[in-house]
């Protein structure tokens, strides 16, 4: 050993630490690197998409942009849009995270209400202390959304005024379900809450052995929802009593789909199930052997079930027996629930060349992809 090495090892160690910080991917982060999946909703004859640096209204026939907010993100940075937009007759309501601008500044978490026809900004709300992961829901003149700060916020849909806040004991990463005068929302504190829409007071709460991270689905007085205790639940919507539960290998993260008397759900290990909605008895089970984050989507005629996987493959399963009818592969990750509209199924992707693809429900053939390829 020579003198310079033995005396300079502390400096070398410091340099190594800085290098490791960089290599481990821990140091810093880009402005629009996805931390979650994006969301899409088809309403009327428009697709509304949270498209990272913008919210887009797209023509479902060809993916052409009808309007975008902000129009130019380089001129006007409104943050990263990932959560699924909520749409009513007049509004498109979205949430974004605006990154911090300095060492001691903090990121802002903003809800934006846009005019549904033009994309013009109507109001915004930035009172939350954490990021929004999933979108909100509109009902009874209110927009209700859960937040990573553990709160559920209810805003007046016309003005954006805060009407009430309900505090849970952990992050709220689920979209609420608003039905009539009740809000059903799950929290990572292992509770599914039924709240009065008018004031945010609790009607009942149901406790599971794991977190709730998805919106429940309501049918005939029963709520259907999965949790991180590897269980899927059917819960009485009036009382909060459990009707039945169904066990699997791993978490249920995405919302289920219902058609007729069958509930379709998928766990994160890619186990797709069809279960009788009344009794909770398994009808069929298909193990896809892939990682699945989102819930399934059912074709409008109930014949097919669509499941997106983390490796970018969209599977179409026969709804009768779970047989895989076709897979369609894409580059990127598919972590959002597919959306079916007529004869088209839309898949959202992150970390790939395309962020949205429209496919035929019959055979998975691509109709168009977004963003479009720009030809020289």
């Amino acid at each position: 050993m020579n003198r310079s090495w033995t005396q300079r090892w502390p400096v070398g160690l410091a340099v190594l630490m800085v290098l490791l910080l960089g290599v481990s991917g821990c140091a810093g982060g880009g402005a629009a690197r996805p931390t979650s999946w994006t969301g899409l909703v088809a309403v009327g004859d428009v697709l509304y998409v949270a498209d990272l640096q913008q919210v887009q209204a797209l023509n479902p026939a060809d993916g052409e942009s009808l309007w975008a907010f902000p129009a130019d993100p380089k001129e006007e940075n409104r943050g990263v849009f990932q959560a699924t937009p909520a749409v009513d007759e007049e509004h498109v309501i979205v949430a974004s995270q605006v990154p911090a601008t300095g060492f001691f500044s903090q990121a802002k978490h903003v809800v934006w209400a846009l005019d549904r026809d033009t994309g013009n900004l109507l109001w915004h709300f930035d009172g939350a202390a954490g990021p929004y992961v999933e979108g909100g829901a509109v009902g009874g003149g209110l927009f209700v959304i859960g937040c990573s700060d553990g709160n559920v916020y209810a805003l007046d849909v016309q003005s954006g005024t805060l009407k009430w806040v309900f505090e849970t004991r952990h992050r709220v990463w689920a979209t609420p379900l608003v039905v009539s005068d009740t809000v059903y929302v799950g929290s990572m504190d292992h509770h599914l809450y039924a709240l009065n829409l008018s004031g945010g007071t609790v009607r009942w709460d149901f406790e599971a052995d794991g977190a709730f991270a998805s919106a429940p689905v309501l049918r005939d007085g029963t709520l259907y929802v999965g949790a991180f205790d590897d269980r899927f639940y059917a819960i009485d919507a009036d009382s909060g009593d459990e009707r039945w539960h169904f066990d699997s290998e791993n978490w249920f993260w995405g919302s289920p789909a219902l058609y007729d008397d069958v509930v379709y759900m998928v766990d994160v290990n890619g186990n797709a199930y069809a279960v009788d909605a009344e009794a909770g008895e398994q009808v069929w089970h298909q193990s896809l052997g892939v990682k699945v984050r989102a819930g399934p989507a059912v074709a409008e005629d109930g014949s097919r079930l669509f499941v997106g996987s983390e490796d970018g493959t969209l599977y179409a399963l026969d709804a009768v027996d779970g047989f895989v009818m076709w897979p369609s592969e894409s580059e990127g990750q598919m972590l959002s629930t597919p959306v079916v509209d007529g004869s088209v199924v839309y898949e959202l992707l992150i970390n790939g060349p395309y962020r949205l693809r429209a496919l035929h429900v019959d055979n998975g053939r691509e109709i168009w992809a977004y963003p479009p390829v720009v030809e020289d």
């Binding site: 090892w9 502390p10 290599v23 990463w173 977190a211 990682k291």
Partner: protein
Amino acid sequence: MFDFIAYPMANVILLLYNFLGQNTVVAITALTLLINLLVLPLTLQQQRSTYKMQELQPRLEKLQKKYAKDKERLAQEQMSLYKEAGINPMGGCLPLLIQLPIWFGLLGAIRYCIPSTPLELFRFSHHIYKWLPGVVGLVPLQSTFLGMDLGQPPNPVQWWSYALPVLVLITYWLQQKVMTPPTSSDDQSQAAMMNRQMQIMMPLMMMFFTLQYATGLSIYFIISSLIRIAQYFVVQGNRGGEQGKSKA
């Protein structure tokens, strides 16, 4: 990059969380104790090296005076002295090098157990050891401590969260102060100057590091430093007793 350490560590946190009252800080503290136990042989070796360096101080000072004008000769004589005394000058570096992947693994483990993004949580969902008792359904762990979110870095909204990196700085500096052999302020040799610089630089770097990442990581560093300091005094106390007996 360090997921091969982060995943097992995250599962250990889950197990501790389940058996220690479902308290995240207690689970991290218990994990810190376990890790320190694991690296105890290296820490003791480092401390023995420190004592030997302290014993050599008078002889080192004599060499510095003798070869004040000949740095190269001084370095050679110092190396001979270390060799004669059986001291490895790199001895202080090895425990730190081994702990670096542990730190990054722990950072990953905390991010998986108290995720701030859904993608992190989804990634971990496939690496939970479900055969461990009671871990199903635990993730994400309870994330608040004294009003701070343990899964988030210090931030102006929870302004008191900045106290944790400051405590990291203080406890790490104390640990260094206690465990590093003292050098005379008159000692202008490169080694002594480097030592003094590192005593300031390392705690500052640790504070900077913990300002960037989840506050849960600060808990680990604070507890770890306190354990090392306590360990030092226990070992020193035992050494004093043994030396007393041998003199007698």
